[in-house]
Subunit: 156 residues, 2 copies
């Protein structure tokens, strides 16, 4: 049986555990982004859009939680760099349809293969994990993020 104070200890421990990985991810994402002339929000936007090739700015905002002014500026920069296409949605002219350009795709691909980049680093870090550990990890993360996302919606 797990009492209240035990639960607080556990949640603190798990948070610290995530934080210790998180700070490293952020550090390397930052490094990778800056080396390629992007800000962290810009990198985040690209990584989000590449999954579906085409999304509205609104959807990107919902997925990333970036404040809309930050998002607007990030997108603007990416468009100016020629990495994103942006055009009003005909069905609703308030919304912006975003899609990654060929240049954008090539850019991301190059970034990911980069030596010393975050992906390369993570591949090495994962090496000691067994297949089972990897699968379990993804599953546990999904359980947590599902709950967190559901809560996130509320405070908006």
């Amino acid at each position: 049986m797990v009492n209240e104070s035990e639960k607080l200890i556990r949640s603190t421990q798990l948070l610290r555990s995530f934080w210790s990985i998180q700070k490293n991810i952020v550090r390397f994402v930052q490094k990778t982004a800056v080396e390629n002339g992007l800000s962290v929000p810009q990198y985040t936007v690209l990584m989000t859009i590449i999954l579906q090739k085409e999304m509205t700015q609104k959807q990107v905002g919902e997925q990333t939680f970036l404040p809309k002014s930050t998002l607007s500026q990030a997108v603007d920069g990416l468009v100016r760099l020629g990495l994103l296409n942006r055009q009003q949605l005909e069905s609703n002219r308030r919304e912006m349809q975003l899609s990654i350009t060929e240049k954008g795709e090539a850019f991301l691909k190059k970034m990911h293969l980069q030596d010393g980049g975050i992906h390369h680093l993570f591949q090495s870090a994962m090496e000691p994990l067994t297949d089972k550990q990897y699968e379990d990890l993804l599953e546990s993360h999904l359980i947590l993020s599902t709950y967190l996302e559901s809560q996130a919606r509320e405070g908006m």
Copy 2:
């Protein structure tokens, strides 16, 4: 057997998995911090120091990866708020010895018990995890963070 392209897929998937949790943690840490009149770096510093009660500013920097100008300002604010003690180390007058004040400890404790705070949220999120899943999760994270930390040192 896992080939190179499979490895890239996996590392991308795991990174995304962490990111989806991370963005929620950051969001709530931000919220919790702001509600209590702190910046995120300040909250980070407090959470780091509470573990050992007493650390040098240098050590805090090594643990958090905060740029030293950010760290300096964060600490300065915390000292001004009366949450941290700061004094030169007699054994090396370049270094600053930091310790949490009673007020600081009480402050953190209050924050952690706060309803709707990040700890409260995480406790609920963890509910569906079995003990085994929890243990495995911590273990896998430890494997990953151990490697990441060892690499982090290099680019400094």
